[in-house]
């Protein structure tokens, strides 16, 4: 009961804020609604019994990614856009047709699709006993150690790439 209420509140808010993100004319406000949306998603992660993911969500998305967005918005001094030009007009009729179709199809698949997957060993009792974060960590550093290393390398490369891209090249 409580869980259902929480789901509908957080889910509804996340949809609402997501809509606000894409229909704001002021990029700063978009970013702020994005933060709100991310926090709702973090709450959903808590509902899904993964507090670690929630914390990482807040840490990375809210604490870093959106701050970066804001930072760029401010560095570039992007102001509110005029009403007539913030949406790509030529695309609108197509998008109006495609987006509902997408929702309908994926939603249909989500509800009607039959999952053939079998249940894994990580039941709720198991997670409570073992600690969900500990279980995640163990899996991450044993079975998925190679992708983990690859991803960390990717992050490093992206970091250096970003630095080098934006570096002002001497005096040309």
């Amino acid at each position: 009961m409580v869980e259902a209420i929480a789901f509908y509140v957080f889910g509804g808010l996340s949809v609402l804020t997501a809509l606000l993100v894409i229909f704001q004319r002021d990029p700063v406000r978009s970013a702020i609604y994005l933060v709100a949306c991310f926090i709702q998603v973090a709450a959903l992660f808590v509902l899904l019994r993964s507090p670690f993911l929630a914390a990482v969500q807040v840490f990375v998305y809210v604490g870093a990614v959106v701050v970066l967005f804001l930072f760029v918005i401010m560095v570039l001094e992007l102001k509110k856009e005029r009403f007539s030009e913030y949406i790509h007009r030529g695309q609108r009729p197509w998008a109006l047709f495609i987006i509902p179709a997408l929702i309908g199809e994926v939603g249909y698949l989500a509800v009607k699709g039959k999952s053939k997957a079998s249940l894994g060993p990580y039941s709720e009792e198991f997670l409570v006993k073992q600690g969900s974060t500990e279980s995640l960590g163990k899996v991450l550093f044993t079975k998925y150690i190679f992708p983990f290393e690859v991803v960390s390398l990717l992050l490093l490369v992206a970091l250096m790439g970003a630095i080098i891209l934006t570096m002002k090249r001497g005096k040309e």
């Binding site: 869980e3 259902a4 996340s14 949809v15 997501a18 809509l19 993100v21 894409i22 704001q24 990029p27 978009s30 970013a31 994005l34 949306c37 998603v41 959903l44 992660f45 899904l48 019994r49 993964s50 670690f52 993911l53 990482v56 990375v60 998305y61 990614v65 970066l68 967005f69 760029v72 918005i73 570039l76 992007l78 913030y86 790509h88 695309q91 609108r92 197509w94 495609i98 987006i99 929702i103 994926v106 509800v111 999952s115 079998s118 249940l119 990580y122 279980s135 995640l136 899996v139 991450l140 992708p147 991803v151 990717l154 992050l155 992206a158 970091l159 790439g161 970003a162 891209l165 934006t166």
Partner: protein
């Protein structure tokens, strides 16, 4: 009772909103933000699968997705800044050099 399907439908709606943002907005920053929305919707469905199928793989992949998203944003925004320095615009359709 909240089931996997609730989460999947929610994720689907968020995904569609994100795609709509990518398709409709002219400001490349908002396009990137919409991409983040798409990432998040996928994360929700991954975490939901992980929870309801009692498997760890989904959560592990959420961690990876978040990392990759962070990398993507860093590089994407860096490119954006460089483009802005050169062309003084953030509108996607102004950036069509690759056509030639």
């Amino acid at each position: 009772m909240i089931t996997l399907y609730h989460y999947l439908v929610l994720s689907c709606i968020l995904f569609a909103i994100g795609v709509a943002g990518v398709l409709l907005r002219r400001n490349i920053l908002i396009v990137l933000m919409s991409l983040e929305l798409v990432f998040n919707s996928v994360n929700i469905s991954l975490a939901a699968f992980s929870h309801f199928l009692q498997s760890m793989a989904g959560k592990v992949f959420v961690v990876f997705t978040i990392t990759v998203a962070a990398a993507e944003v860093a590089v994407g925004l860096a490119i954006l800044v460089v483009i802005f320095r050169q062309k003084k615009t953030v509108y996607v359709e102004d950036l069509s050099e690759m056509r030639h």
